[in-house]
Amino acid sequence: MAAPMLRWGCRGRRWALACVDGGSCHRRGAPTGSTSNRIRGQSSVAQQPLHTAQKPRKGEHKWAAVVGLEIHAQISSNSKLFSGSQVRFSAPPNSLVSFFDASLPGTLPVLNRRCVEAAVMTGLALNCHINKKSLFDRKHYFYADLPAGYQITQHRLPIAVNGSLTYGISAGKECGQVIPKMVRVKQIQLEQDSGKSLHDDLRSQTLIDLNRAGVGLLEVVLEPDLSCGEEAATAVRELQLILQALGTSQANMAEGQLRVDANISVHHPGEPLGVRTEVKNLNSIRFLAKAIDYEIQRQISELENGGEILNETRSFHEKLGCTVSMRDKEAKQDYRFMPEPNLPPLLLYDATSLPTGADPQQVINIDQIRETLPELPSVTRERLVQQYGMLPEHSFTLLNEVGLLEFFQNVMKETRAEPKKVTSWVLNIFLGYLKQENLAVSESPVTPSALAELLDLLDSRTISSSAAKQVFEELWKREGKTPGQIVSEKQLELMQDRGALEQFCYSVMKDHPQVVMDVKKGNPRAINKLIGLVRKATLNRADPAVIKEILEKQLSS
């Protein structure tokens, strides 16, 4: 449940607001202070409550953590859930606000078909039961960026229930295997987003931007089947991939299209669940994992030190890396849910229940939507493992990085190199360079074609793998040269002249009699030293396998 919190202690706040009249909404002032994206409640370090009732039970039992998530995904749609205003990120403030969004008296909600279809698609992809009848409710609370004083949501009867989300946890770097895990999906509900409050602390003002007010959200409620930050992070990442594959949400956390609240408690296995806290404002997957793990540890040490966990809302402080109580004075507010009287029940149909002669524009057919579902990430990964014989872990990495799968597939299309070689180059070298410079795949200086050409040169043994790495480094400099050009300019081709290579080997052996002695004494590593010396002498242009063969021949003669 989105449980927006009222600002605590907002003395001296003044409002400089969008004025709504004459048919359009204009902002009166520009925000000059910090912007906060739905961060409600002043962060403050929690006072540690004094509790001595519980005895420390350090080391007595193991602790288990129970984590449930509520995820809000902004629906990718042209217009809002109940109005015709456009949905667009970073538009000028209050430029996408209809009379309904500004809650002008007398306006009524009209349900957006696209949002319903997105909810059904997402429900089907998460193995949910789709309710053929669902209802809308009003959830009341006063907040400046909620102009109607209530949010329209699905409290009693949501559109989808009882699903599951399968995700994979890496079993460790070495084996490359992934352990499948599953978290149950309690429900998916359609609801309205709120506007944004822009707090100008300097001037004690809060500016309201209603562009986001009324945008359609999918609230995905996960059962508390998770037990640590990594599980939660991986599950959310998988959901993000599914939403993106479906196109139902862009699910970009940085832009607030995916927002996660976590409910966390700890207990001893076999005993009743502990008191839970809710951690809000988790706006990246990394922070999600960190916040959950911090909160679990905090609760355990609190309890082990005889303290008590309060049922409270906490927010994650990114800089300090810890959770802090939002000390919300209205934590127990009653939302006074009521059926939304202006929207009839939402009825969906399937092939069997579709009324004959129904206007396809007027009804939504679940079966029809099921048929149009795209390939889901789990299937894509399975296909990669089957088709290219790659490790499951590698298939996860390919999907997890935005655009990486597409890059890989484009390289595959143009190269003769083995899939394993391509996988290794894309995941190790290419991805390594990206990470080092913190670039997205789309920002890469190396195109799939260039990498394909490079891998072809490697595959045909035109260059050595170390030369290939050198070429890659050149490519990364964005000098507009092809791998072929770089190879010839830098004379990186492997030496094809065996006679010349034999001459190099001979010279090296002559110059390093001690190493030769070592080899002859039976030190198996000594030959590698000779190989290295020969390669150096050839400026890395010789194939080590060929060098080894020549050396062995010369040594044994």
Binding site: L6, C10, L104, P105, L111
Partner: protein, 521 residues
Amino acid sequence: MLGLISPGQNGQITPTELCQKCLSLIKKTKFLNAYITVSEEVALKQAEESEKRYKNGQSLGDLDGIPIAVKDNFSTSGIETTCASNMLKGYVPPYNATVVQKLLDQGALLMGKTNLDEFAMGSGSTDGVFGPVKNPWSYSKQYREKRKQNPHSESGDSDWLITGGSSGGSAAAVSAFTCYAALGSDTGGSTRNPAAHCGLVGFKPSYGLVSRHGLIPLVNSMDVPGILTRYVDDAAIVLGVLAGHDPKDSTTVPINKPLVLSSLEDVSKLCIGIPKEYLVPELSSEIQCLWSRAADLFESEGAKVIEVSLPHTSYSIVCYHVLCTSEVASNMARFDGLQYGHRCDIDVSTEAMYAATRREGFNDVVRGRILSGNFFLLKENYENYFVKAQKVRRLIANDFVNAFNSGVDVLLTPTTLSEAVPYLEFIKEDNRTRSAQDDIFTQAVNMAGLPAVNIPIALSNQGLPIGLQFIGRAFCDQQLLTVAKWFEKQVQFPVIQLQELVDNCSAILENEKLASVSLKQ
């Protein structure tokens, strides 16, 4: 416009002349307090355009050039819309309610916005921030003459009568000839009740037949735009323009065929139901007598008249109270002083600003209902109050279904317990008590979403109008109005005589002519 404007009769008049006559009457009857805003310039401009259309032979239809008034809880683009509340004083909507737009599209002239109880919460039109509305019948020849005969009555203006409400301004506006039709809203009887007290046809259409988009809500699940006119035919014409699906209101339904009112010659195939639960001790004997005579009239003309039972009627008031206040609490949440409307000067904190704004913006009646509604919606109370009230509402609606399934075509009931009472009498009770009493015959219809209409039947011994209510099957509005029209023709309700009030207002006020004006081609 049938009844209003019968082409070919004498007294031909241009839209501008008609508009000016009405504007002049609005000025003369200003003391009635029927209008909150008079949109003189808008009306004259519309009249001018209408006149051009008539000259070019391009009249838009029955409503072209006809002065109308709109209750001040319908949004009107560019014209202040206050709901008779401090909260919305100065609020100018940027859009027209669908019903307003439809009337304007037909060439109707918008004379102004009419007075009401604040946010339509009341049954007297006495509880708005602009003061009470006075019933034009207080100044009628019929009422004055009766009062002269009564030695106890005081002379002077202190004993003026209420219009009923909450659409009292609309009722007074039509009753005093300042317009030919007016929009009211009807949530528990707010159109039918003042129609009964002002001797008018007050029609509440089926829920879902007419768009609520732009109507500032009281109870979304019961609100319906209402129509106030002098004659049934006029109400039917207005309904014909308003009815139908509105993409902006998801609770409206499409209609298959245009609404045409035929004259009923024969009532022998009709079955009229008389709900026995509506015979309550508080009902005035005069109204009871007229109700009975009306039933006899149908019977004597060959209709079948039977007693029916609506057993859950007595739970209607308390059930309505829970549902109404709950929706009110919710609907009023948007008035926080931020986006539009009143905002207090307090800026200590946002919460303090909300509290003071709402304290200053709403009257006691509104605040009282918000408080009750929030109580009923609390988590701990929701099941015991709101859910139970919804169940009772279903039972009440089923009562009507059962009655209609037993073969009844139309139900005939009183509209009010008594005729209009003097203001000083009315305010002896508080708004809540009054609303509960006065809505007794009208409210259940809103719970069931049925069409219902008040038809004036006769004048009381005091010379005041008395009306009866016809209730029809859901979406059988046309059948209901057809029966009502037949009844109207039989009873020949007298036209209000206001000569004394607006003595020098020329020929237009001579009632026969007024009732049948025709516009020049």
